[in-house]
C-alpha cells in the first residue's frame, strides 16, 4: 500500500472520519464541494493534525496517534500543489521553481525540463504578481514536481487551466508516475481527470469514504452512477496494443475482440486501460452494417437499471470485461433489451479519445 489513511477530526460541526488504503499510482479523491477532500489532503501533509488515527506513505509512518508519531511537515517529503498557487511573492518564477533545492538536499536545480513541459519557460524571470491565474498554478505545479517528493498531493491543481494546457500536463503527470513510481493523491471535481489519471478512486461524502477501489470497479458500478453524475458513468477495460495501422488507427485487443482507436502512443504489446462512457455506447440486436462506427462488439446483457428519468443503465458482459450503456427506455423496450439478451455494442472509435486512455500499470489493473 502506498498510502494508508485512517483519520478522525471534528471541526465546527464538520466531522471527518476517513479511512482508506491507496495503492501506488494516482489515487483520486472525488466528492462534492465541502465533502472534506481538502481536509484529508491537509491531514496527510501534516498541515492539520487529526484527533485520532494513523497515516502511512510507502510504509513510512507520518502520523500515529497511538505512538505519538507526528512527523513535521517538511520531513514528510510530500509535494503539495494547493488550490491557490501560493507562490512566494518575493522570488522570481525561477527561484520559486528551485525553492526546494535551495532549502533541502532533495530538489532539482534545473527548471528547464519542467518549465518547457508546463509552458512556463518564458516566464522564468517574471515575478508571481504579474502572472495570470493559470500561469501561476502551472508554476506551483512545477515547484512541487521539482521538490522530488515521495508522493504528490494535488488539490484541484488544474481547475484554473484551460483544456489544451490540461491535456498537456496530464500526460506528464502520468509519465512522471510511470518513470519515477511517484504516487499522487489527487483531488478533482473533473471526471475527465479522474478517468485519465486514476488508478484508484476514493469517493468521499460528508467526510466519510463511500467507496474506494479501482476505477474499473467503482466506475462500472451502476450504484455509483448517481454519485458520479450520469453523464460521467462509464466502464474501464483492460487492453493490449495489437497493431498500429497505417491510416492512423491502432487496434487494441480486449477480451471481447478488437477496438480501433486513433493511434495510441504505446508499443505493440503494451497494456492499456480504455474508458468507454455509457452514453457513447449504442446497442443493436443484430450486427449493424454500413455505419461509420468502427467498433462493434458482441455483448450479453447482465442487468438493466431503470432510473427516474427516461434512460436506463445497461450493464453488459463483453468477453471478460464489463461495459455500461445508457439508452432510452423506449429503445430498451423496442429492442427487447432484457437480462440475458445477446446484442451488439456499437462505439465510434473516436469516442474513445486519447484523454481516456491511461497507459497501464501492473498495479490497479
Amino acid at each position: 500500500m502506498s498510502l494508508s489513511v485512517d483519520i478522525r477530526r471534528s471541526l465546527g460541526g464538520f466531522d471527518l472520519h476517513t479511512t482508506f488504503d491507496a495503492p501506488e499510482g494516482v489515487t483520486v479523491l472525488f466528492g462534492r464541494s465541502g465533502s472534506g477532500k481538502t481536509s484529508v489532503v491537509k491531514s496527510v501533509a501534516g498541515l492539520v493534525t487529526p484527533q485520532q488515527g494513523k497515516i502511512t506513505v510507502n510504509g513510512r509512518v507520518l502520523f500515529d496517534r497511538e505512538t505519538h508519531t507526528d512527523l513535521p511537515v517538511h520531513k514528510r517529503r510530500l509535494g503539495y500543489v494547493f488550490q491557490d498557487s501560493r507562490l512566494f511573492p518575493h522570488l522570481s518564477v525561477r527561484d520559486n521553481l528551485c525553492y526546494a533545492a535551495r532549502v533541502s538536499s532533495r530538489g532539482a536545480t534545473d527548471p528547464r525540463q519542467v518549465g518547457d513541459l508546463l509552458g512556463i519557460s518564458h516566464l522564468l524571470d517574471r515575478r508571481p504578481h504579474s502572472l495570470s491565474g493559470g500561469e501561476a498554478q502551472r508554476v506551483a505545479i512545477g515547484r512541487a514536481l521539482l521538490s522530488a517528493p515521495d508522493m504528490l498531493l494535488m488539490d484541484e491543481p488544474l481547475a484554473s487551466l484551460d483544456g489544451p494546457r490540461k491535456a498537456e500536463i496530464l500526460p506528464y503527470l502520468e509519465t512522471l508516475r510511470r518513470e519515477t513510481g511517484l504516487s499522487i493523491l489527487y483531488v478533482t471535481h473533473n471526471m475527465a481527470e479522474v478517468a485519465r489519471l486514476a488508478t484508484h478512486i476514493v469517493l468521499i461524502d460528508e467526510g466519510r469514504v463511500v467507496r474506494s477501489g479501482a476505477p474499473e470497479e467503482v466506475l462500472t458500478d451502476p450504484d455509483m452512477v448517481r454519485l458520479l453524475g450520469i453523464r460521467d458513468a462509464g466502464a474501464v477495460l483492460s487492453a493490449i496494443v495489437a497493431e498500429h495501422l497505417p491510416d492512423g488507427l491502432s487496434a487494441l485487443a480486449i477480451s471481447a475482440g478488437k477496438l480501433f482507436l486513433p493511434a495510441v502512443d504505446a508499443p505493440v504489446g503494451a497494456k492499456l486501460r480504455v474508458r468507454i462512457l455509457a452514453q457513447d455506447v449504442i446497442l443493436a440486436r443484430s450486427r449493424p452494417e454500413g455505419l461509420s462506427a468502427l467498433n462493434i462488439l458482441p455483448v450479453r446483457v447482465l442487468a438493466v437499471r431503470r432510473g427516474e428519468g427516461p434512460g436506463v443503465i445497461v450493464q453488459l458482459q463483453a468477453g471478460e470485461d464489463r461495459l455500461l450503456a445508457r439508452i432510452t427506455r423506449r429503445s430498451a423496450d423496442a429492442l427487447g433489451i432484457v437480462e440475458g439478451a445477446d446484442c451488439f455494442a456499437v462505439m465510434k472509435s473516436v469516442a474513445v479519445s486519447q484523454t481516456d486512455i491511461a497507459v497501464g500499470l501492473q498495479t490497479g489493473l
Partner: protein
C-alpha cells in the same frame, strides 16, 4: 560646514551616530526575537514580555534612566554581575548610552517588526514547509524576506529615536564629553547656559537632518522591496 559646528559639537554628532548605530544593530536580533515571540509565540508570560517591552515607551525617560542606573550601574546587581563575569562596564561609558538608547527605542523596533510578521501569510510558510524547508529555513527564506520592509522600518525608527534620546541617557550615563555627551545632551547643556540657544538650534538641525535622512532612506528601501514583492 566644518567651521559651522565646533569640534566639541562634531564630537557629539559623531558620538551620537556611533551610539545610535550600535544601539540599533545590537538590539536588532533581540528585537526580532521578541517580535517573533510576540507575534507567533503561544507561551506563558507572553503578556508580561509584551508590557516589559513597552515599558520604556510609557515611563518618563528620567525614570527609565534612573532604573537603569539602579540596575546597570557599577553598584547595581546587573552592572556588577556584568563587570565581574565579562569585565563589561556600562555605567558612564558610551556603551551605556547605547544601552539606554536601545532600550528606549526597543518598543518602536519590536512593534514595527511584530506587525510585519503578523502580516505574513502563514499559507506561504505552509507551502515552504511542504517543499522541505525546516522551520528555520522557512524563516530565513520566506518569512525574513517578506518582513524585510518591516525590519528596515523598525531599525530606522529605532535609529531615529536613539538619535533623539536624552532623558534616560543623561540620567543613566551622564553627559561626559567624548564618552556619553550625545547631541541631545549637548543641546541640553547649551540650553542651560545664557546665550546657548543658537548653538543648540544648530545641533537640532543636524540631528533632524540625520534622522530624516534615515527615515527617507528607509521609506525608499521599503518601497523598493515592496515593489519587488507586489509590483505595486
Amino acid at each position: 560646514m566644518i567651521d559651522w559646528l565646533g569640534p566639541d559639537e562634531w564630537q557629539a554628532v559623531a558620538l551620537s551616530l556611533k551610539v545610535s548605530l550600535w544601539a540599533t544593530l545590537l538590539s536588532l536580533p533581540f528585537g526580532l526575537i521578541c517580535a517573533l515571540a510576540l507575534a507567533r509565540g503561544r507561551f506563558f508570560g507572553r503578556e508580561v514580555l509584551n508590557w516589559l517591552v513597552h515599558l520604556p515607551l510609557v515611563l518618563p525617560p528620567v525614570v527609565t534612566g534612573y532604573l537603569l542606573l539602579l540596575g546597570f550601574g557599577r553598584q547595581g546587581p546587573i552592572g556588577s554581575l556584568l563587570d565581574s563575569l565579562f569585565g563589561i562596564t556600562l555605567a558612564f561609558q558610551w556603551t551605556g548610552a547605547a544601552l539606554a538608547a536601545s532600550i528606549m527605542a526597543f518598543p518602536l523596533m519590536v512593534r514595527a517588526m511584530r506587525l510585519a510578521i503578523e502580516a505574513v501569510d502563514p499559507k506561504l510558510e505552509e507551502a515552504a514547509a511542504t517543499l522541505g524547508a525546516s522551520r528555520l529555513r522557512v524563516f530565513s527564506t520566506v518569512t525574513l524576506p517578506l518582513i524585510l520592509p518591516g525590519i528596515i522600518a523598525g531599525v530606522v525608527l529605532a535609529f531615529a529615536k536613539a538619535m533623539g534620546e536624552f532623558g534616560a541617557t543623561i540620567t543613566f550615563v551622564s553627559n561626559i564629553p567624548g564618552e556619553t555627551r550625545t547631541v541631545p545632551s549637548a543641546i541640553y547643556a547649551f540650553l542651560q547656559v545664557p546665550g546657548g540657544e543658537s548653538s543648540a538650534l544648530r545641533l537640532v538641525g543636524v540631528a533632524v537632518a540625520i534622522a530624516i535622512g534615515a527615515l527617507i532612506l528607509s521609506e525608499w528601501l521599503s518601497r523598493k522591496i515592496a515593489h519587488r514583492i507586489s509590483g505595486t
